[in-house]
């Protein structure tokens, strides 16, 4: 429901008017010292819940960031359940539950990571917490063909009652069981500011390109897009998330490509909910689903 962003898009039409170009640039900066990055998620799906520990690196470093091994990682909740996480043998730095397990709604989850990241012989403790909301019942979803700028699309229309009060949502789509947008920079999020406490109907949550237009797209764009074919099974998973998690995703998306001189503010560090001097995030989400079959247009 990136309504505004969609409209801003028309402004970029201007780009054919102004001859803007790009050129590679060499930026030299002092490098910041390494900090621990913690990224952990608890979902309501029955899966291995994981926490990843890595070290930060200079921004333009050509080597990948190093994973951090040998930490003790624990997730607990406010009802007394505790998961001791085990570092994966084949993937150092990734700490996982022993078995697939579901996070439970209406609980606050606590993360505790202990490790000697600064190698001074004393273990530091990093903590974070996140509340898992109850799921939002989605009434239904409909896939509707439409066209725009000589291209055909399918709108994903979602029918759901949005509860009163400030809420934040994270949603993702599965096409024939395949999850799309699994990178933070592509996550779909929205707050309810524009439609607080109302029944949402006939508003498009996403535009999928129609497979019949495949040839109209540049190779680069086509590679990342998910084209739909009549008969495809599309599922939406919608989760209410905390304000902190919403802001984290939104800030990651803002900062991913650097500044936007017209619509963006000055470059600012992405905020974390982890206490103890690390970067990254510990979040929770609890999705509810609805599905639809792509019709013949």
């Amino acid at each position: 429901m990136k309504i505004l962003r969609h409209h801003i898009y028309i402004l970029s039409l201007l780009s054919f008017f102004i001859s803007s170009c790009t050129a590679p640039m060499d930026i030299r900066t002092d490098n910041a010292g390494p900090v621990l990055c913690i990224y952990g998620m608890v979902s309501s799906n029955s899966e291995y819940q994981t926490v990843t520990l890595s070290s930060s690196a200079p921004y333009f470093d050509t080597l990948p960031n190093l994973r951090v091994s040998g930490a003790s990682v624990k997730i607990s909740d406010d009802r007394g359940d505790i998961w001791y996480m085990e570092e994966k043998k084949d993937e150092p730095g990734i700490y996982s539950t022993y078995l697939p397990i579901k996070g439970k709604p209406d609980r606050t989850y606590y993360l505790e990571v202990r490790c000697d990241f600064d190698e001074d012989g004393i273990e530091e403790t990093y903590t974070a917490e996140s509340y898992m909301y109850k799921s939002i019942p989605i009434d239904s979803m409909r896939m509707v063909p439409m066209s725009f700028f000589n291209k055909k699309y399918y709108n994903a229309l979602v029918y759901v009652f949005e509860p009163p009060g400030r809420n934040y949502y994270f949603y993702r789509f599965y096409v024939n069981g395949f999850m799309m947008a699994d990178k933070i920079s592509e996550y779909l999020i929205t707050s309810d500011e524009m439609f607080d406490g109302q029944y949402i109907s006939d508003i498009s949550f996403y535009n999928f390109p129609n497979i019949s237009d495949y040839d109209k797209y540049d190779e680069d764009v086509a590679k990342d897009a998910l084209f739909l074919t009549p008969g495809d099974y599309v599922e939406i998973e919608m989760s209410e998330i905390t304000k902190e998690y919403f802001e984290f995703i939104s800030q990651c998306q803002q900062e991913f490509n650097g500044e936007n001189p017209i619509f963006g503010g000055p470059a600012s560090n992405i905020r974390t909910n982890i206490k103890g001097g690390a970067v990254g995030f510990f979040g929770t989400f609890n999705g509810s689903r609805a599905s639809a079959i792509v019709p013949i247009d």
Partner: protein, 766 residues
């Protein structure tokens, strides 16, 4: 404290100036063009024997006090033959002068004030440019642009490459008051900043006051840009126009009867006409236009009415999507001269800016509208009693109506950021005292009351900027008032016939500001007012300068230094959301700022080669508790060194070459110094705010003007202007972006807007 001291000084001076002086008589009148009757602004009149002079105001009127007896006065004006006349002064008298134009410069309508005025006036940080000077500068894509010209002046920085935003002496672009025939222009840009809204053909000239703003004006911290349309009484019908690559212009001026004249000007871009010819873009629109109209009626030699209107619009339309924004400015000015010493002016103004976004796209239908509207009434009086009592005073009242975004979408309720209003009253008085031929003092004070008035809503926030409460106010309820005393004082001490030392001390306050934290700004930035949560921004500035002319005023030089200190200065929280935000106040962070610098200017006003050269060294910084961990950081417009050259070489009346060259230190920026990884993507960890700088900025623009028949006796005159923007194809970064191939190393890319841009324009006049 400083304000109080300044107020006391002003008061003392006012009282203390009741002082005996040798009786002088006043000679006054109008200086005009002998051929067309057009009044000449800034023409010089000088008495050798009394070594006294003055210059004509924007109505061509001058006033000179002389001791009784015989005097030889010289009247001069750039592009006109100087006139020498003997006059006998016995009593206060009216005397008009008419000057004949030079053949080769007959196209000059108005030029800048005479050079010695700059030395003599008790005014610092003031730059004037005439319409002709602006026109002679090489223009981007041939579009002559007032604001691009301003950006070449010392102490003025462009805030983004090719943009219409400008920063004066280290201040934010919204701290400039832009007046177009006395009406505020809230967004002076077309095409998202590429061009400004002022059609140079209808303009007589501009005045930029960099901080030492006349007390008559207020409401902004950094500067006043006063742009006036032509104000003369044409003797015959004339038409001026031009055809360019981007837009075409047409302006007509004509007398309607012996007392009434009319000016109509229009400009429109026509890129969309070409778009319509293509299949892919045939349903698209992309245009901007400006319309100016002005009627002047003289009831008598003492009474005059001016009605002026401006309407400018930008339209971007792509199939079912539309975005447009427009400025409207209307004014009516009635002036009456009670006597040759006592002028009055009454004006009513309306200024509005609004924008809209509309979508008819299936399942994305929506509309968004936002606006700001001002209604104001002003009364100004100017009373010349003696050299010691040259008093200006007046009052104004302005009603501001802020209508932030209203979003309508089918199937769900409207989303509305609450409207609010404010009432601003001001009184001012100033006096210019000439204690001797050497020393003149100007001082004054402006008093403003700014009230938030219902219907409106005010939110209360806790220490974490979360809303705790809200209060609704009924229509007409005044729920918050700020009072401001703005004293301003300046002196000039003439150290010789052609040189002077000046100093000034000013205090300015600002009550409304722009919600913008991006580098270039956008037409969707909204204005919001001070209120319960946001205090007025304040500036104290001290400046001093040395002015000297050489070679019989052929060279005009100046060096000015300034230091200013700002309080309640506004910036926005990290990652703030300034659009569609009911709780905008919660995104505002305030602190202090300071800026200081040195500006050196050399201007050559006559001869084959004319132009100017200036150098500015400056610094501007901010300290705001919740930004950059409270550490002082550079303002985004801080450019340490800035060097500008603008030169015109008139080889013959047929051929003229012009060039501008700009060099500036790169703008401050925040670079990533580290990165963290999540699911194979890298996210930046930044340096301190504005710790680094972008590459230096450089640009050379050239133009060649060819006038086929400059000496032709015919009324029709045409000229070709060939120009090249960014002649040596310097890649100046507009923005720096980062990208990463899947799982690969991040890399930086600069986006630059302009390569070499050649253009051709044809201008005509008859």
């Amino acid at each position: 404290m400083l304000i109080r001291i300044m107020l006391i000084i002003c008061l003392l001076l006012f009282v203390g100036s009741i002082n005996a002086q040798e009786r002088e008589m006043i000679i006054h009148g109008r200086i005009s063009d002998a051929a067309t009757g057009e009044t000449l602004e800034g023409a010089a009149i000088y008495s050798e024997s009394a070594s006294k002079g003055t210059s004509s105001n924007h109505k061509g009127e001058y006033r000179l006090s002389l001791t009784p007896g015989r005097h030889t006065v010289t009247i001069s004006y750039v592009g006109y033959t100087s006139l020498k006349e003997d006059i006998t002064v016995e009593k206060n008298a009216k005397k008009d002068f008419r000057l004949s134009g030079n053949v080769e410069l007959s196209e000059i309508v108005v030029t800048s004030s005479p050079t010695y005025d700059k030395v003599r006036a008790p005014q610092l940080g003031n730059d004037k440019l005439s319409s002709l000077e602006i026109k002679r500068l090489p223009a981007m894509l041939g579009e002559v642009d007032v604001i691009k010209a301003i950006q070449l002046l010392p102490g003025v920085q462009s805030t983004s490459d090719g943009g219409s935003g400008f920063s004066v002496r280290g201040s934010a672009p919204d701290q400039n008051l832009i007046l177009f025939d006395n009406s505020t222009i809230y967004n002076a840009s077309h095409l998202l900043g590429v061009f400004s809204v002022f059609n140079n053909d209808v303009i007589s000239g501009i005045d930029l006051y960099k901080g030492d703003i006349p007390v008559k004006y207020g409401g902004r911290l950094a500067s006043l840009l006063d742009i006036r349309t032509k104000n003369n009484m044409p003797e015959r019908f004339s038409m001026t126009g031009g055809l360019g690559l981007i837009s075409s212009r047409l302006t007509i001026e004509s007398p309607l009867d012996s007392k009434t004249s009319i000016l109509l000007g229009g400009r429109r871009s026509y890129a969309d006409l070409f778009l319509k010819m293509t299949d892919e873009y045939k349903n698209n629109s992309l245009y901007f236009y400006d319309l100016n109209g002005k009627i002047i009626h003289r009831f008598s030699s003492k009474d005059r009415l001016e009605l002026s209107a401006y309407l400018g619009k930008d339209m971007f339309k792509a199939e079912t999507q539309e975005f447009n924004y427009k400025n409207t400015a209307l004014s009516a000015i009635y002036s009456h001269n009670f006597s040759s010493d006592f002028y009055s002016k009454l004006s009513v103004n309306y200024a509005a800016y609004d924008y809209g976004i509309y979508s008819g796209m299936q399942n994305y239908e929506m509309s968004l509208d936002a606006a700001i509207t001002d209604y104001s009434v002003n009364a100004d009086f100017s009373n010349y009693l003696s050299d010691l009592w040259n008093i200006n005073y007046g009052a104004s009242a302005t009603f501001h109506r802020f209508k932030p975004e209203l979003v309508r979408q089918p199937n769900i309720n409207d989303y509305k950021v609450d409207n609010n209003s404010a009432l601003e009253y001001s009184l001012y008085i100033s006096n210019e005292q000439k204690f001797s031929e050497k020393f003149t003092l100007k001082y004054g004070v402006r008093f403003t009351s700014f009230s938030n008035i219902g219907k409106g809503i005010s939110y209360c926030y806790d220490d974490n900027y979360e809303v705790t409460d809200s209060v609704m106010y009924k229509k007409g309820d005044i729920y918050n008032t700020y009072y401001a005393w703005e004293p301003r004082i300046a002196f000039v001490w003439r150290t010789g016939k052609n040189s002077s030392v000046k100093g000034s001390l000013v205090h300015n306050e600002q009550f409304i500001q722009l919600a913008n934290n991006s580098a270039a700004g956008s037409p969707m930035d909204i204005w919001f007012s001070a209120g319960r949560n946001i205090k007025p921004q304040k500036t104290d500035m001290v400046s001093a300068g040395y002015f000297r002319n050489f070679g019989n005023d052929m060279y005009e030089t100046s060096a000015e230094v300034y230091y200013k200190y700002m309080t309640n200065v506004i910036d926005f929280a990290d990652h703030s959301n300034l659009m569609l935000n009911k709780y905008l106040d919660a995104e505002v962070r305030t602190g202090t700022g300071r800026a200081y610098g040195l500006e050196v200017m050399v201007k050559k006003t006559r001869g084959m080669l004319t132009g100017f050269m200036n150098y500015t060294i400056s610094r501007s910084e901010r300290t705001i508790a919740e930004i950059n961990n409270g550490k002082t950081y550079l303002a985004p417009f801080d450019k340490t060194h800035c060097f500008n050259i603008a030169a015109n070489l008139e080889l013959t009346p047929k051929h003229m070459l012009s060039a501008t060259w700009v060099y500036a230190t790169g703008m401050p920026t925040t670079y990533p110094v580290g990165r963290f990884e999540i699911n194979g993507q890298y996210f930046p960890i930044y340096s301190d705010r504005n710790e680094y700088r972008k590459p230096d900025y450089q640009r050379l623009d050239l133009s060649y003007t060819f006038t086929p028949k400059p000496d032709s006796g015919k009324r029709y005159k045409g000229e070709w202007v060939f120009s090249v923007f960014n002649a040596y194809a310097r890649k100046n970064p507009w923005t720096i972006s980062y990208d990463q191939k899947d799982g690969g190393t991040p890399y930086a890319e600069m986006v630059y807007l302009f390569g070499v841009l050649p253009s051709v324009t044809y201008n005509f006049k008859f």
